[in-house]
Amino acid sequence: MCLGIPGQIVEITDEARMMALADVSGVKREVSIAPVLTGAIEALIGKWALIHVGFAMALIDEEEAAATLQALHDLGEAQEALEAMAEGQKALRQDGSASEVQA
């Protein structure tokens, strides 16, 4: 369960909370970029990161991202991570404030 999944940071969503939107295999998910934030926050847009349980833990290059994704697919871990993200969204919807949740 220590495996991270590569994602590309596409948009800063909340500068104060250090949150950004990441594209993980086509799924958009809000993640914390606190662990990789060392300079200007905008500089992270377009960068690839290894994302573990919703936190960008290390910046990687695009080639490394592709190779890691392939290895995760072979292990079934990529699908597992994407399903877990979907579960997380479902958990939030369960509480009766469904209208606030973005699909």
């Binding site: 369960m1 220590c2 914390s32 662990p35 290895a71 991570a81 993200m85 579960e87 997380g88 606030e100």
Partner: protein, 380 residues
């Protein structure tokens, strides 16, 4: 060599395997007198079985599957405590999916959920934080589980909850650390280990220096490795080279992701929020000194142990493993999964008796999942 064809670069894999074979001969490793290499991380265990690396490498190289699968080393008592917290009517209990099927003494979290407890699988502690914001009249508890890769996520979430003055969010902290169980295994006179393949993503957080004692004090090689099959083969080769040369060093095969000093933000968050417990219980390994974390007094408001009076704060409660379960012996490399009388009979991934069958990172589940392909291969 049929597995080798699945590699992204079969040629490179074959070249590495040939070099591993030559080295094994050079150091005199045979089936009767193998070198024992422990891969610490459960992700590596999974990859070794997925690619059949233990079959592709020479018989003189034996993999011992280490304790690096968090749900596999989770004692039953911790699961019971999770259920106890989760069954409180005011609680929304949140957890990673991995922990749902781990058997407790009476039930798993999955069973408790089916009986009506409000238990939700989440992807991230950030999801639990969001649930707390949206449900101010409920107590949202997150099950903090895992090694140093995962610990920063709960530390940063607790810091965020403190900034927002969220009073209905807490973490049931059962985080553990990698180096102490390795030391415990090295101190055990019944266990022989010649070298280690070190965890990749744990090291991305803590860096490579926490393993210095393995080389300096115990004289064993350790190579931090990535998760691709070629990374693993390369790392085994590096361990064997150290053994041939009589060296014992910490080497970093995964430098493209693992910085020597780890991730400073994550380490600072861990240091701010957590402190070491005097000791912590590991399934199969028993109590190990300074191997678990608890929440510091400054963040006491976010400590589920303190809030509900459950867990190590309420005194250690050890629970016997189920009858016939040999997880402990398998975990320490003294028994192969197939040597357990319950393997594939009373214990399967669908109905696990022991924790090693629960997660794809557990040695038993890996044997079970990829065992079919192997039996067919052996019959060829």
């Amino acid at each position: 060599m049929k597995y080798a064809e699945e590699f992204r670069d079969p040629k490179a894999a074959k070249a590495l395997l040939a070099r591993i074979s030559t080295l094994a001969d050079e150091i005199g490793a045979t089936k009767e007198k193998p070198v024992y290499i422990m891969e610490i991380c459960g992700g590596h265990t999974h990859a070794i079985f997925r690619y059949g690396l233990d079959k592709l490498t020479p018989e003189g190289v034996e993999f011992i599957h280490g304790p690096g699968c968090p749900v596999c080393v989770l004692p039953m008592a911790r699961v019971d405590e999770c259920v106890e917290i989760a069954e409180k009517p005011e609680v929304i209990f949140t957890t990673f999916g991995d922990a749902m099927r781990v058997p407790g003494q009476k039930k798993s979290l999955l069973q408790a959920k089916s009986e009506g407890a409000d238990i939700r699988m989440v992807y991230s502690p950030l999801d639990a934080l969001e649930l707390a914001r949206r449900n101010p009249d409920r107590e949202v508890v997150f099950f903090g589980l895992g090694f140093e890769t995962t610990t920063p996520s709960t530390a940063l979430s607790i810091q965020q909850a403190a900034r927002e003055n969220l009073t209905n969010f807490s973490v049931f902290c059962n985080h553990i650390t990698v180096p102490p169980p390795i030391k415990a295994l090295l101190d055990d006179p019944h266990i022989r280990l010649d070298g280690f393949v070190g965890p990749g993503h744990v090291s991305m957080v803590i860096g490579t220096h926490p393993y210095d004692f393995i080389a300096d004090e115990y004289g064993k090689p350790i190579v931090v490795a990535g998760f691709e099959p070629l990374d693993l083969l390369q790392s085994v080769l590096m361990v064997l080279e150290q053994l041939r040369d009589g060296r014992a060093e910490v080497e970093n095969q995964y430098a493209r992701v693992v910085p020597e000093h780890g991730n400073p933000v994550s380490l600072a968050a861990i240091e701010d929020v957590y402190e070491l417990r005097p000791s912590f219980e590991w399934r199969g390994l028993g109590e190990i000194d300074h191997s678990g974390l608890r929440i510091r007094d400054t963040y006491r408001a976010f400590d589920a142990e303190d809030k509900f009076g459950i867990g190590y704060a309420a005194g250690v409660r050890s629970v016997q493993e189920p009858e016939g379960c040999a997880c402990g012996a398998v975990m320490t490399g003294q028994l192969k999964p197939t040597g357990c009388p319950q393997f594939g009979k009373g214990c399967t991934p669908e109905m696990p008796l022991g924790a090693l069958m629960v997660s794809s990172e557990g040695a038993c589940a890996a044997y079970y999942q990829y065992g079919g392909a192997r039996a067919a291969e052996a019959a060829e």
